[in-house]
């Protein structure tokens, strides 16, 4: 069942992508491309916004790497990435970024007889699995964490992203933070994986995990829920076992010090706190600071302004964490950096 749903969604994304390309210059449509991580909430916002204002927002969920690439090529009005760009890179490419929403990355498994939340895993074990060091489900390292759970003598089929992905960036950032051995792989949107098979997009990983017996993968939480995948609990930085849910993402997000993060460069992985989910991430919007079509940029900002004001409930319904009000105020101030070619802010 879930697999066909996944594909229906993938097909919708593809159709949306085609439509976005053809409609990019329709005037009353804004277009964006990038991360698949926030796609469920962005598309929900876009529907609601279209109903209200008749202005469409077409979002191509092609991966964060793709979002960065497309905004640099100016084929879209905004790019979206879960991998924040460093302030120096932003400056070099004439871009600015702001955080839009936060969410959780969850490990998902496909093991007969294991239900969501029955297993727990910690960062080091997760790293060892993805390094190819732990290859069996009944490995002592996994068994020690899961006393009382009957783990099969089965090979672990590791599933990772095959495309450039902000989810991968946050995931590898976390693994690198908790496991010294991970440094040989590194942290990036795409890495040279020592083990496993690759799926395209969050939807692709979800499909592969749902399909492959004995597999483990990582996806944004909404994808795990929508595809009825089995997620695991995790041991966080404080050594406490936490379940992936709105409250634990919120606990990690509340640690974020956005006010002192230059260019909003902030990564939420492995935050302290007894209730913090260790793989929490923010997702970002990228826009050019100099706009050739200020009217268009204004429409884009209007949309995000509306989403900040009216989108919290929709985000929460999908277990994303809306940005706190003080951060939204900061972001709105930084929108003044987006100017037309004569140097006038587009919002005035």
């Amino acid at each position: 069942m879930f697999s066909f749903k996944t594909f229906a969604r993938a097909a919708t994304v593809a159709a949306g992508a085609l439509f976005a390309v053809s409609a990019a210059h329709a005037g009353d449509t804004i277009s964006g491309a990038g991360a698949t991580f926030p796609y469920p909430v962005y598309s929900k916002w876009a529907d609601a916004y279209k109903d209200k204002t008749d202005i469409g927002m077409n979002y191509q969920a092609i991966g964060s790497g793709g979002g960065i690439k497309q905004i640099n090529a100016k084929t879209v009005d905004f790019g979206a990435s879960d991998k924040p760009l460093k302030p120096a890179t932003l400056k070099k490419d004439g871009l600015m970024q702001f955080p839009m929403v936060m969410g959780g990355i969850v490990p998902v498994v496909n093991l007969k007889g294991i239900k969501s939340g029955e297993m727990k895993i910690d960062g080091k074990t997760l790293a060892d699995i993805y390094l190819g060091k732990v290859t069996k489900w009944n490995d002592p390292e996994i068994a020690a964490l899961n006393k009382g759970v009957s783990l099969p003598d089965q090979d672990i089929a590791v599933v990772h992203r095959s495309d450039g992905s902000g989810t991968t960036f946050n995931f590898t950032y976390y693994l690198n933070d908790v496991s010294p051995a991970w440094s040989k792989v590194g942290v990036d949107a795409s890495v040279e994986w020592p083990a496993g098979i690759g799926g395209k997009g969050n939807a692709g990983v979800a499909a592969l995990v749902g399909q492959t017996d004995g597999s483990i993968g990582y996806v944004e939480y909404a994808y795990a829920l929508q595809n009825h995948l089995t997620y695991t609990n995790m041991v966080n930085k404080d050594g406490k076992v936490v379940a992936p849910k709105y409250e634990s993402f919120q606990a990690a997000a509340s640690n974020a010090d956005w006010e002192h993060a230059a260019g909003y460069y902030l990564i939420l992985a492995n935050q302290p706190g007894a209730d913090s989910w260790p793989m929490t991430a923010a997702t970002f919007i990228l826009m050019h600071t100099t706009q050739a079509h200020p009217q268009k940029a204004k429409e884009v900002l209007n949309f995000f302004n509306w989403a900040y004001a009216n989108g919290d409930k929709m985000a929460k319904d999908l277990d994303y964490i809306p940005m706190p009000d003080n951060v939204v105020a900061l972001v709105k101030k930084s929108w003044m950096d987006i100017k037309d070619e004569s140097g006038k802010p587009v919002l005035q």
Binding site: S3, F7, I62, G63, S64, G65, G66, I68, K69, T135, D155, I156, A157, S162, D163, G164, S165, V185, G186, V187, D188, A189, S190, V191, E192, W193, P194, A195, G196, I197, G198, G199, K200, A207, L208, Q211, T212, D213, G214, S215
Partner: protein, 331 residues
């Protein structure tokens, strides 16, 4: 023969204007030359774009690009070995499966099948060619992968996997997804193409040759092996080349089932990647000049590989012709 052509010729050569008399041929000649040149220019354009686009990566890695197995966007180290081997590996498996099957099917359809069934079966096979490759990919992922994971691959591991040396090809965890499955799906995909062409060429054998052989007391096998096949050698080789060309470049179906992993492995059960699958997965998201350029360079490698395969095929074909296929048939 003459009578059948005559009606078509009626009216040719009469009632022509002076303009048509003078310019008809030159215009026709010019137009066809133009079309040919456009195609040639396109080909040169593709080579030029691949060379220019791939140059930064080739300059960055040097000739080692061709024998480096690492594909690491973090350190900007790129090598074509894994996708290149994956491309060849899957295509070879596809040919090992596709060619004998196609050959058998084409022989059956032209030599053995009752006449009433020939057309329906032939149409059914051609319909297979009309199925989009993504459907093959989804079918592979959702239907064949579980079958492979639970039945086929464990069985292969416990039988062939125990043979020394050969067993290495069937080692590692059975996860269904991998090079072997990709090759199998590819084999099924090229099957209708090869079969259709082979059927056409077998049907083109003059009945008189067959009848003479039967008249001399040849068995069906002897007729097929010693009369039909030598007569059609070029056509059969052409059919195989067509299938191989398709297998080398197939993207979507392979991407679904090969596992998209940049790792070298002896085992056919292990995940791998092909050049076209790598391009499909990574091109839109590749950030950084060297990364993008490395992907274009991969495209160049695929182009050269396909060119070499086709050239080799052509050469074999010409060689076979020079050795005197006619003599063998007529003897």
């Amino acid at each position: 023969m003459v009578e059948s052509v005559a009606p078509a010729l009626q009216g040719v050569g009469t009632r022509k204007s002076r303009f048509a008399m003078r310019w008809g041929d030159p215009i026709f000649w010019g137009a066809t030359l133009f079309f040919t040149l456009v195609l040639f220019a396109l080909l040169c354009g593709v080579i030029a774009v691949l060379l220019v686009g791939g140059w930064p990566a080739l300059a960055h890695s040097g000739i080692a690009f061709l024998w480096t197995a690492h594909w690491n966007p973090v350190t900007d180290t790129y090598g074509a070995v894994v996708p290149l081997i994956g491309t060849i590996e899957t295509s070879v498996i596809a040919m090992l499966i596709g060619v004998p099957f196609s050959f058998g099917m084409a022989i059956f359809l032209t030599e053995l099948c009752p006449h009433r069934l020939r057309q329906p079966i032939a149409i059914a096979i051609e319909l297979l060619a009309a199925i989009p490759s993504i459907i093959y990919g989804m079918w592979g992922l959702f239907i064949v992968v579980p079958l492979f994971q639970h039945h086929v691959e464990p069985a292969l591991k416990t039988t062939l996997g125990n043979i020394p040396l050969l067993g290495n090809l069937f080692s590692g965890p059975p996860i269904g997804i991998g090079v072997l499955l990709a090759g199998l799906i590819l084999g099924l995909m090229v099957l209708p193409f090869i079969t259709s062409v082979m059927r056409e060429v077998f049907a083109s054998v003059p009945p008189v040759l067959r009848e003479s052989a039967y008249g001399l007391g040849a068995t069906r096998w002897e007729v097929v092996w010693r009369v039909v096949l030598p007569y059609c050698r070029n056509g059969v080789a052409g059919a195989v080349m067509l299938g191989l060309g398709r297998a080398l470049g197939e993207t979507m179906a392979v991407t679904f089932v090969i596992g998209n992993a940049h790792r070298l492995s002896l085992s056919l059960l292990a995940p791998g990647t092909t050049i076209s699958a790598t391009l499909a997965n990574e091109f839109t998201e590749a950030v950084g000049d060297i990364y993008t350029s490395a992907l274009v360079a991969l495209g160049l490698v695929l182009f050269v590989l396909t060119f070499l395969v086709l050239a080799l095929g052509k050469k074999l074909l010409l060689g076979a012709r020079a050795e005197g296929a006619e003599g063998e048939v007529l003897a």
